[in-house]
């Protein structure tokens, strides 16, 4: 992946993040001015106090207190207004034609489904969300185990994923690019390695991607690839993983149907290269200790055949 992966509140890529960014700068400057004013007032008081008894009358003191209270009220009103405006701006996106995506939190990966009224058109993937630019997206948030929190700083603030209930968040990306999201609620041993990539595409590119994702995994062609598919179907992989179009139909681990099209493995733990994938499959517990994937105990021939096959799953 050539383009940089952005994870910063100060580099907004969507309307809501832009408003949050604006609020952040207003707060920053108001707080900076207040801080400087308070420090200056304190310095003046110390200097004058050292020179001897103050000559100020009660009337002057009352006037200064009144000025300070007035300034505080104005500053707080500015912040309050800005905060209300930001809150309203963030909620303005709701739209009937929005794209609906369901993100389910798991220890420690993101299950992603592009919802559709026709079940055969639902797209299932993991840890990498594609969104079209300029179109509102409703993200439905659920959790299968503990409380997680979705945070894509370039698009929006945080929203929790709570087991047993459904949350939602509306986002819209306005600039094409790659944005990094991260779980923002401590969820166990590998909380830090629970990231997701958001890819904001041009609408045409997005539709192309989505229709490609609806297809099954490509059929293996070489002997080695066929052997790799057999390893998935007859070995331990199929107990948890899904590869659409094969016998592997597990649903407790990330969908592998289009694994090779994703940029990372292990929920953002490593770049998706053949070497990293081999290391991951040989011993997942070394890379991400405590994650729910056990070492499958494959022979080296099986592993190489499996890698050959996985690399075709574009």
């Amino acid at each position: 992946m050539g383009a940089p992966l952005i994870q910063s509140v100060l580099h907004p890529a969507g309307v809501q993040a832009a408003r949050i960014n604006q609020l952040w700068w207003v707060m920053f400057w108001v707080c900076t001015i207040v801080f400087i004013a308070v420090v200056l007032a304190m310095a003046v008081a110390i200097v004058r106090g050292r020179r001897g008894a103050s000559s100020a009358t009660d009337a002057t003191l009352s006037r200064w207190v009144a000025v300070a209270v007035g300034v505080s009220i104005v500053a707080l009103l500015v912040l309050l207004t800005q905060s209300v405006l930001t809150g309203r701006g963030i909620e303005m996106l709701r739209d009937q034609n929005a794209l609906r995506i369901q993100i389910t939190g798991n220890q420690w990966w993101w299950d992603i489904q592009y919802l559709h009224t026709n079940p055969s058109l639902i797209v299932s993937t993991a840890n990498e969300v594609h969104v079209p630019i300029g179109r509102p997206v409703e993200i439905v948030l659920k959790s299968n185990d503990v409380i997680h929190s979705l945070w894509i700083p370039a698009l929006h603030g945080k929203r929790d994923l709570i087991p047993g209930r459904q949350n939602e968040i509306w986002v819209q990306a306005d600039r094409a690019g790659f944005y990094r999201g991260q779980c923002a609620e401590f969820c166990g041993l590998q909380h830090a390695k629970m990231a997701l990539t958001v890819v904001a595409d041009l609408p045409d590119d997005f539709e192309r991607w989505l229709s490609h994702m609806r297809g099954p995994a490509p059929a293996p062609t070489t002997d080695s690839e066929i052997k790799g598919r057999d390893v998935i179907e007859r070995g331990p992989c199929a107990m948890c993983h899904m590869v659409a179009g094969t016998l592997a139909g597990g649903r407790t681990a990330p969908d592998l149907t289009h694994l090779a099209s994703r940029s990372t493995i292990g929920a953002g733990s490593l770049p998706n290269t053949r070497g990293n994938l081999a290391g991951w499959i040989a011993d997942p517990q070394h890379i991400k200790p405590g994650n729910h994937m056990p070492a499958p105990g494959l022979t080296s021939e099986e592993l190489q055949a499996l890698l050959d096959y996985l690399e075709t799953l574009k």
């Binding site: 047993g164 199929a238 948890c240 407790t252 405590g290 729910h292 056990p294 070492a295």
Partner: protein
């Protein structure tokens, strides 16, 4: 100065708790040899033999038991044996009747080899480590593991007692359904 021996005794009493158990994420050495024949009935020719004393390495390990509980749902054991081991298509696991025996090696072979009339073989699909975690959890459903380590109540509505409140009962090997 008289307080020092008291403090030392206190520290000695507390420190054993630090190494109460370990989480193991990588494969354990197999505790039972899969090729060795596991006796599945109390009937045998010749003199009576002592029952096997093979135990699951997770018998006293709270993490392993909790993993077993998670896997019990993840691998759909619950689909046939019921979510709390109450039984449905498959036989109940929470009662005191065991068709193929309640010892760890017997349960291990039931899971890895499969059994007639429905129980599939999981050997080669689930790593041995996870089978041992399942063995320990299945035993906990019948109160056969330490109550200190067994899993506690669920977050959702309970249909049966939590595993750490199930008391051991005399196990009967039926040999038939």
């Amino acid at each position: 100065m008289r307080g020092i021996p008291l403090v030392l005794v206190g520290v000695m009493l507390v420190t054993p708790a630090c190494e109460r158990e370990k989480r193991r994420y990588t494969e354990l050495p197999a505790a039972a040899d899969r090729s060795a024949a596991v006796r599945l009935t109390s009937l045998q020719p010749g003199a009576p033999q002592a029952p096997s004393n093979v135990q699951s390495p997770y018998q006293y390990n709270a993490y392993g038991l909790a993993e077993g509980k998670r896997l019990y749902a993840a691998y759909n054991c619950a689909g046939c044996h019921g979510l709390g081991g109450g039984g449905a298509i498959g036989p109940a696991l929470m009662d005191d009747k065991w068709i193929y025996g309640s010892h760890a090696d017997q349960i291990f072979s039931s899971i890895s080899q499969g059994r007639p009339d429905g129980m599939p073989s999981f050997a080669g699909h689930i790593p041995d480590q996870q089978i041992w975690q399942l063995v320990a959890y299945v035993q906990s459903l019948a109160g056969l593991v330490s109550q200190d380590a067994a899993t506690s109540r669920n977050d959702d509505q309970a249909v049966s007692k939590p595993e750490n409140r199930i008391e051991d009962a005399k196990q009967i090997q039926t040999g038939h359904r």
